[in-house]
């Protein structure tokens, strides 16, 4: 066949993309490949397969990758490759069939296990492993008796297929053949997960001399099989620790999986090895928690030598977190020393866990932390000072409430309210009358910790504040007191403003302040009203549980805006009036995902409702 003929399909028309493949550079070829695999057909498979003898290796490899994706469009073409005169192409054929896993190709691959060329045989042996088909077992068992490297591949394929028929032959290889084959057979046999087989393996390994034993132990550790490892431990005891530590040191990348085994050894070296794994991990990851819990299981080993471990920078964070987890307490002098010498992440952790790890109230650590330049550390410190009622620090806390990072100021103010209410109120008085906007906002953030009466005189002054943000926050806070008599006049002020804050609407609904019913109905009916205000007004009306509102909600359902529809759907659902069902049902087909979901939930709820209004 000529070059041109090879890239044509049966219909004789060359595919342009396939031709372009030949001349393209790596980057462009990758883009062409993406296009080719989206609409494959039989002719394309034939044309692409024709490129398998190209001298450009990079191109050849891309061709193989393409066939792995599109080969199913013409499995006969791929099977034909197994009979190509070029042995390399026969090998590619096996590789592609291994990925396609098409049932029809199995008998041909089995045939190829017996052909002349060893590389093709090997490729076929490996391919059979991908099929997990019992029909391959016999020919693979034959291979176990043949050349070492082919037997090696056959062992893995048999393990993948998982047929127990292979176990006796594999045990034979494990016991009697050379080291590499023996190791492979060991891996394969473990994967069968059979108790009796495992016992036989463990017995055999235990009788080997040290170096060989360690190699086999390494294989078992790598397999990550806890069941086998524990059985091995029953025979070898603590002798198993050193090979494990060795493995973890050499195979750093696999140490995460193997770390689980460390917990079986109540030994200092195991504790240290776990810490070494933890120090390289990200404390926010899920995995970290898992490994840390293993470390916590070893607490009997490390909790007696805390000063030794805490002297290592990288160990501080995990140890502190672990202590908090197991309820292990750290003496104050040691904790203070550790805190002062720690890096920022460790400092933050100490503060977070202080309540759990401190032997005593942690006064000296807290005092030190309050002076720290980091906002998080300060914030935690001042919060704990409050909860622990550390009166001696009141003076410092007052200063922190008056100046600094906003969230630290807020926490300081909260602590102050707890420790010395008169002092806190005096500071607030000053904030509200003579302070800056930041001062006022600090107060506004802590209003929920003071009672309605106390807040009243401060809030009164802020309702007309020059600063937008201060005013908004004030109105939000006042919203929470909507059912307090003395606040009614403040409310009239607020409502005069025109836009009714959402917070107010929420509270009206929650507390069923039916006195505002008229106001709410006006909002819902007003075509010029802001969407969000309508939504919350609907929600508030829904909170009234008033059946006479049925018509209002049904009418709101017809509004164009999807948010209002959702509000209406939720309101109807809460009203539990079955008459709503036919009105709601059409929306279960809505193109807007959220409207649809709200409608479906409403229908479900309404159909479950008992009786009719």
């Amino acid at each position: 066949m000529t070059e041109r003929e090879k890239t044509r399909g049966r219909d004789g028309k060359p595919n342009e993309l396939v031709l372009a493949l030949k001349e393209a550079d790596d980057f462009t070829r990758a883009k062409i490949m993406e296009k080719l695999v989206t609409s494959p057909n039989k002719a394309m498979v034939q044309q692409v397969a024709g490129l398998l003898e190209q001298k450009n290796t990079s191109l050849r490899m891309d061709v193989v990758e393409i066939l792995k994706k599109i080969g199913n469009c013409s499995i006969e073409t791929i099977i034909q490759l197994l009979y190509h005169q070029n042995e390399d192409v026969r090998v590619y054929g096996c590789e592609v069939l291994a990925v396609l896993k098409h049932d029809a190709s199995l008998p041909y691959l089995i045939e190829k296990v017996r052909e002349d060329n060893e590389n093709v045989r090997n490729a076929a042996i490996m391919a059979l492993g991908e099929f997990s088909d019992q029909r391959s077992v016999n020919v693979l068992l034959e291979v176990l008796e043949q050349e070492d490297w082919l037997a090696f591949s056959a062992i893995y394929s048999l393990a993948k297929i998982g047929s127990r028929k292979a176990v006796p032959a594999l045990l034979n290889v494990f016991r009697n053949r050379g080291e590499e084959l023996s190791l492979a057979a060991c891996e394969a046999l473990i994967s069968f997960r059979d108790g009796d087989t495992i016992d036989q393996i463990v017995d055999f390994i235990d009788h080997l001399e040290r170096d060989k034993k360690n190699t086999f132990v390494g294989v078992i550790i790598e397999q990550g099989d806890d069941q086998v490892f524990q059985r091995l431990m029953m025979k070898m005891g603590n002798d198993l620790l050193n090979p494990l530590l060795n493995f973890l040191q050499v195979e750093k990348k696999k140490s995460l999986e193997a770390s689980g085994f460390l917990v079986h050894f109540k030994h200092k070296d195991a504790a240290r090895a776990t810490l070494n794994i933890l120090k390289d991990m990200d404390p926010e990851e899920d995995e970290y928690a898992r490994v840390l819990s293993l470390f916590m299981e070893l607490k009997d080993v490390w909790s007696l030598d805390l000063d030794e471990y805490l002297s290592v920078d990288d160990y501080v964070l995990p140890i502190v977190r672990a202590c908090a987890g197991v309820g292990c307490v750290i003496d104050e002098p040691l904790l203070l020393k550790t805190f002062c010498f720690s890096q920022l992440p460790a400092k933050r952790e100490i503060m977070k866990q202080l309540g759990k790890i401190s032997n005593g109230n942690g006064y000296r650590v807290i005092r030190e932390a309050m002076k720290d330049s980091d906002g998080h550390v300060q914030a935690e410190a001042v919060a704990i000072a409050g909860t622990m009622s550390l009166r001696e620090l009141t003076g410092d806390i007052l200063l922190m409430a008056k100046k600094g990072y906003p969230d630290v100021r807020i926490k300081a103010m909260l602590a102050l309210i707890r420790l010395d209410l008169p002092m806190a109120l005096a500071a607030i008085e000053w904030f509200v009358t003579e302070g800056t906007s930041d001062d006022k906002r600090t107060y506004l953030s802590v209003t929920s910790h003071l009672d309605a009466e106390t807040n009243y005189r401060f809030l009164k002054g802020l309702i007309a504040d020059a600063d937008d943000k201060v005013r908004q926050m004030t109105i939000r806070v006042i919203g929470n007191y909507v059912d307090h008599e003395e606040y009614l006049d403040l409310f009239r002020e607020v409502l005069k403003g025109g836009t009714i804050p959402n917070e107010v609407l929420k509270v009206i609904g929650e507390k069923r302040l039916t006195g505002f019913r008229h106001l709410l109905l006006n909002i819902v009916a007003d075509p010029l009203q802001v969407v969000w205000t309508k939504y919350y007004a609907l929600a508030a009306l829904a909170g009234f549980a008033d059946p006479s509102l049925f018509a209002v909600f049904v009418s709101a359902l017809k509004e164009k805006n999807n948010l209002i529809k959702i509000g209406a759907l939720k309101a109807l659902s809460e009203l539990r009036d079955k008459r709503a069902i036919p009105h709601v049902r059409p929306y279960t087909k809505s193109t807007d995902q959220d409207v649809k979901t709200a409608a479906l939930m409403a229908v479900e709820r309404l159909t479950q409702t008992e009786g009719v209004c």
Partner: protein
């Protein structure tokens, strides 16, 4: 507090708008990041927050900028990952200073610059290299990020102890002014760096960042899934001059992401060169 359903709604919304991907096991992380924001907005449920994002109209764009601040946390510091910086030094010396000096000066870009430590580090390194060279070469460093809060901080260029913990004392005294425990970057460095907002998933935004000689993109790819990574890397490819250099996070890899780059090995690290 955050239910599975709400998590799905939010993470899909965030992915659609920003390309930032939250995997299933990051639910707790998303919850803790958003909890404060909910408080600030006085919202009582994550579902409400989702509706605020979806139906907020013009307010949504603003809220999204808060989201960017919340979901990206950059662990960054000056002179981070020395092997990568050493490789940068070799590339600049061999390729540009002692090789072909690019017309119009050397153009560099720190994509995902967060609070500024990376572009400023590169600027300091360039100033040092030029001081010890007999050759002069103008250069500019662009720093972009998706977090407006981080960019504000970067523009202020005031850093704490922790940020500069890996900085040589001589460098510290030469390029910073120390004041009560914080370090203020000198103007001589600040003026080499141009900072701006950029969303790496927005293809049209790259128009301003073309013909780059060197791009640093560490700490950003972790936020994307494979598809997102491919998009970003393809875009960065287009932004580079032929023969330009790319450095990505040391735990990242272009394996299965892009075929357009030639890997270059350096002691302890790897950099990539365009075609």
């Amino acid at each position: 507090m955050l239910t599975g359903q709400e998590f799905t709604l939010l993470k899909d919304f965030i992915y659609e708008k920003t390309g930032i991907y939250f995997a299933e096991n990051k639910m707790y992380l998303l919850e803790s990041r958003l909890a404060n924001r909910l408080n600030e907005l006085n919202l009582t449920s994550f579902e409400e927050y989702y509706y605020h994002l979806k139906f907020g109209g013009s307010k949504t764009e603003q809220e999204i900028t808060y989201l960017y601040d919340l979901v990206t946390t950059n662990e960054t510091s000056f002179f981070r990952n020395p092997p990568q910086l050493d490789a940068f030094k070799i590339v600049v010396q061999k390729n540009y200073l002692n090789g072909t000096r690019p017309e119009g000066g050397l153009r560099m870009w720190s994509a995902g610059c967060s609070t500024g430590e990376e572009p400023y580090t590169l600027a300091i390194m360039m100033l040092e290299l030029l001081a010890h060279s007999s050759v002069s070469m103008p250069f500019v460093i662009y720093g972009t990020d998706i977090s407006t809060k981080a960019l504000e901080s970067a523009k202020k260029a005031v850093f704490n102890n922790y940020s500069v913990r890996n900085t040589d004392k001589a460098i510290l005294s030469k390029y910073f002014t120390e004041d009560k425990g914080v370090y203020i970057l000198k103007d001589s460095v600040k003026k080499c760096v141009s900072l701006d907002f950029l969303n790496l998933m927005d293809a049209s935004a790259y128009r301003k960042y073309r013909q780059m000689d060197v791009i640093f993109c560490r700490n950003v790819l972790i936020y994307f899934d494979e598809k997102g990574k491919k998009t970003v890397i393809d875009n960065l490819y287009e932004s580079l001059k032929p023969g330009g250099f790319l450095t990505i996070g040391h735990a990242e890899s272009l394996h299965n992401i892009s075929r357009g780059f030639k890997p270059l090995i350096f002691p302890g690290t790897i950099a990539y060169q365009k075609g």
